[in-house]
Symmetry: C2
Subunit: 237 residues, 2 copies
């Protein structure tokens, strides 16, 4: 008479228990076999219920080991001075931060970047792809496109240091940043990079940076695990 599917009522029951603290963060949930007996349902139903929890970010399953309650701790990423002081900002919060340069090369300007950087069709930019680590765990991927001459001049340093401090150290002033924050889903490729299940929410920070004279300098996208990152900002009248 409930009309609520079994897998939902089971996952809701488990969710309540997780939120009530019956299962602590990091703790192992009962195995599928145990849950089958507890709720007197088949394995497919138990698996569906567990999948519901995983898709809600409440649990994570590991083949051969079990299903574990995911501990939640989000890092707020302050937009008062975005990306520029990310490293310091995280250090202040006691978070170990490193990044790994995956790609740095010159490419033909992609169409969407042409518009953002106000570049002609037959231009080139430097494309950089970085993997950001927090406390040893993967947190985000950053893909950015920087003006060709800047990329050529500072390439060596950009591969090893954060972008904004590097630019400012060479007298390239950042005057304005236009940004869009949106949510996407992890596709198969991203789920591999960021070590999350397919379809998990990711938070994308798309930024266009302008120097003096409103000249666009770089466009980038920081795609973060939504369970580990959030953005904070303060707006005044």
């Amino acid at each position: 008479m409930s009309s609520v599917p079994l897998h939902i009522s089971i996952s809701e029951k488990l969710r309540q228990q997780i939120e009530a603290g019956d299962y602590q963060p990091g703790e192992k949930l009962p195995s599928e076999h145990q849950l089958m007996e507890t709720f007197d349902v088949s394995r497919i139903t138990v698996r569906r219920a567990v999948a519901n929890l995983v898709s809600q970010g409440l649990a994570k399953s590991q083949q051969g080991k079990g299903v574990f309650v995911t501990p939640q701790k989000k890092v707020a990423y302050s937009l008062a001075s975005p990306l520029m002081f990310l490293e310091q900002d995280l250090a202040r919060k006691g978070i170990q931060f490193t990044f790994e340069n995956l790609t740095f090369r010159k490419i033909r300007t992609p169409k969407k970047v042409q518009a953002m950087l106000q570049l002609p069709i037959k231009s080139t930019v430097y494309f950089q792809k970085k993997l950001l680590n927090m406390d040893g765990a993967v947190g985000a991927i950053d893909e950015s496109y920087i003006l060709s001459d800047l990329g050529k001049k500072f390439g060596a340093q950009l591969k090893q240091q954060m972008t904004f401090p590097t630019l400012e150290a060479h007298g390239i002033a950042i005057e304005q940043i236009d940004a869009v924050i949106e949510c996407t889903h992890a596709d198969y490729k991203m789920s591999g990079y960021l070590e999350v299940p397919l379809g998990q929410p990711l938070i994308m920070y798309r930024y266009t940076t302008y120097g003096s004279d409103q000249q666009p300098i770089l466009y980038g996208e920081t795609i973060s695990r939504a369970d580990r990152f959030c953005y904070s900002l303060s707006l005044q009248k």
Copy 2:
């Protein structure tokens, strides 16, 4: 030899076809039966592949009808003047905007709101819950907590008009807004309200509003469908 599960390779194949435009937005995908024959797999595998697409926000299934490619159109929500001019902002983009007042009542201040509004333990606030509609479709839920005396005084209007214009019309100046943008998952309750599958990403805008003398006036959370909303902002040096 590929080591990639069948359901993944099928959903990836379909994803490519969708992104290539083989299936247009709103168009119906082949039925499960057809996909079973096309890929020569069982129904459970086809269903898993379709579930992958749904969890990535690429498709939506409707019982009795079929699976349809979801058309993507996001509304950027400008943070230059947040919430205040949402209505006008949307109107300018040609989007019909309405809201429905679900709840408006006085409650004991919840613990998390006490901290945000700097209120004592034994205080009360007015709690309002609104359902925001865009072009006739549900887009977001807004839950806000407003100082008791303001709620009492302007209750009648707050039920029918947007919050910020109402306050400003009565001379309550908004001086500052502290906000956090984060991503969450739709739990069972939210998935019902916002008409999305369980676990779909939602984008939460949590705001604390301050009037003159840095006095907190209201705290609220706007929970939007991440497939329909994003936030844009501009930061100057």
